[in-house]
Assembly symmetry: C4
Amino acid sequence: MDRVEEWERRSERALTAAAFVFLVAYAVPIVWPRTGGTVAVVCGALVAVTWAAFCVDYVARPALSRDRRSFARTHLFDLAVILLPMLRPLRLLQLITLLNVLNRTGVYGLRGRVVTYATGGTVLLILCGALAITDAERGHPDAVIGGFGDGLWWAMATLTTVGYGDTYPVTVTGRIVASLLMIAGIALLGVVTATLASWLVDRVSDVSEAEQAATRSQVDALATEIRELRAELAVRSPDERAGPPLG
Amino acid sequence: MDRVEEWERRSERALTAAAFVFLVAYAVPIVWPRTGGTVAVVCGALVAVTWAAFCVDYVARPALSRDRRSFARTHLFDLAVILLPMLRPLRLLQLITLLNVLNRTGVYGLRGRVVTYATGGTVLLILCGALAITDAERGHPDAVIGGFGDGLWWAMATLTTVGYGDTYPVTVTGRIVASLLMIAGIALLGVVTATLASWLVDRVSDVSEAEQAATRSQVDALATEIRELRAELAVRSPDERAGPPLG
Amino acid sequence: MDRVEEWERRSERALTAAAFVFLVAYAVPIVWPRTGGTVAVVCGALVAVTWAAFCVDYVARPALSRDRRSFARTHLFDLAVILLPMLRPLRLLQLITLLNVLNRTGVYGLRGRVVTYATGGTVLLILCGALAITDAERGHPDAVIGGFGDGLWWAMATLTTVGYGDTYPVTVTGRIVASLLMIAGIALLGVVTATLASWLVDRVSDVSEAEQAATRSQVDALATEIRELRAELAVRSPDERAGPPLG
Amino acid sequence: MDRVEEWERRSERALTAAAFVFLVAYAVPIVWPRTGGTVAVVCGALVAVTWAAFCVDYVARPALSRDRRSFARTHLFDLAVILLPMLRPLRLLQLITLLNVLNRTGVYGLRGRVVTYATGGTVLLILCGALAITDAERGHPDAVIGGFGDGLWWAMATLTTVGYGDTYPVTVTGRIVASLLMIAGIALLGVVTATLASWLVDRVSDVSEAEQAATRSQVDALATEIRELRAELAVRSPDERAGPPLG
């Protein structure tokens, strides 16, 4: 199994870099649609190359692994990330890889990690949602989302479940992107509330924890009492205790 | 009572199949409104047959039961499911039966079951909400929801409480369907948040659980101390202990 | 103090009835705006009479009480309920009295009472919100809420924070009513989630409760051990124990 | 370090007053846009003076501190509050200082303080959001938010995530203000729910707390048992105990 681990350790930085390059190469023609043909060609090439890198990684890992069947079973999500790019805006799901960067922030504690991932995921979601919706809506005659700025604004209003309705998707791809963002919005609300609730419950229960500490000190007092009893018995009959070894 | 249980065990699969057939037969004329007259007639017949199957089940169970009065009292909800279909789009409430399929997924633990039911219920709600709203709105001159695609999009935006306002019901039946979906949306938000919060509280409190374990180990130490005291007393006076049985 | 309690016990049913009559008399001219002049006059009279009843109750209680100052201080909310009716749609705040009916439902347990009050309060809020918004908006040239049906639909969409935007208030009074309903919506979301979370935390923690029970049984074992030690000591030296009273 | 503390104690009231003056001087030309030129000049001067006061405070504190480096590192937020005013409507972030007033309300307990800060912060957010959005949108040809009243209404609908869509920002500054308010809305929802959940969990767990008390009383019983054992041993052998001091 260590050949897979070695591959993963070596390829991790390369894949994170590839995901970052993919994000930029995908974003440039969407954010500045009037960039010249050369830029568009370069960006297209970079998107293709980074996608190829992810494919190589997906094929290499089971090839290096001894237990290929369980790999295929436990890495279905990776396969989805590779194959989904067929639908252009959903290609951005590949960027989940970027969240691994957060593993290096050195934040400890479950709640700290939840907050870090939620914040990182939210920023990534808004960015990718804005890119995907702009890509999906642009060109449609009835579209109300005209550029990346509108896309960002729409992503914000959707993720927070405000939904003014001044901007909304009209294409099928746009509505699928919107649905994913809405579900993420519900999850985001849940994570924010749950983390706050867990923190509050934990802090408030510090008082009752002090009561539990009292119980522990009671047991300590009990132990002292028994130890004193033993000491008294030892003092009371030193001859008796000395007796048996002599006899 | 076991006659009722036997009936329920035997009829469970048939009723789940009936609910599934009902869903399909109800959905087909709504999703493809231009299907020929034959398809519409077949679907109408299937809807009627499956409804009849649910009626038979509702009548058969108290007939087989010894305690008919308590049956009527505890199965008011089943009666509502049977009688509500008078209002066409609300007939879909019958599909709650389909959630029983989730009982066979073999998910254990309270939180696992809550997640499974919430996910299954959400998918079913969006599907049924979309069918019901399309059925209710279609034909109304001011309707903005024109087909099943619009219905699905509207159900998503309503259940997640985003509510863009690009699609909204204008008929009374549509607004009742929408109100049910809004209430479900609030409940969904609550379930997502509560499950996350419960998981976080549980994971974070693992630390204080270790403190409780410390208390238990204290009691263990105390028990050892007392056992040693007994052993010492026994060693100290073997003659005294041997004495009473002799005398 | 018991004269106040006697007054409250005697007047409770009358005041609940008055609040109910107030709701109906207030609602009729709003729901059916084209009712004849006689009905409007009767309803107006009933609204005035019930308001007078609440005023009498507010004046009677401190008059019967020995400690008038603390009464004024602790019943500021009651005073607000009496005086607020100056603003017509806010008069409905008087209906909080109706929630006292829920005290008689015989639901025990904190969570049960929270659920009962939240459900009752939500129904009352939607009803009163719809009446208040219809009353406030009707007659305004730009109003999009034309009748009680629109009002109910708007109240639903606002309280659940969906907010399609097909109906929205345009008058200042309407926007104040809307703001109150939005705040209630946030509180409702909170209550639903909190109750679910509390229930889940409670059910899941049943397992760790079993662990606490184990600790208690450990202490029981310890107590048995000590009791046996005492018994042994008593058996070992019956003569010594009998000795002191004889000597 | 005490020179910094002395400065902070002395300047606290002055800075709170400055923040309040800033809020009023900033608000007046926005709420009443047709006020004469003199009022506008006075208000502009007051905004500049209060801003200077905050700058002086920010420069004075590290100058008085011994440990200047750690000051710069731990007061980055203060720097942001000072420098952000470049963007006009975001200047209102300076008003966070006003929340310190809440420290003097004498509310004890973690949950009480959370509720106080959430309520105070919400009122301040709605006020500042309304001022900022009116300031940002006014003058734009497509603006739908025409005055402070519209701004307040929009802030309410945004913070509660209702988002009707009858009013929405169209400028970039307005959309940034809106995004901040949406994030605050999610946090507000989280705080309300978390506080309610923590309160419910705490109240419901009072029952299991009584069970813990039972454990403590068990330990008390155990301690009594051991104390009685010691007393018995002392009574049983008074001569033995008296012996050692004599010998």
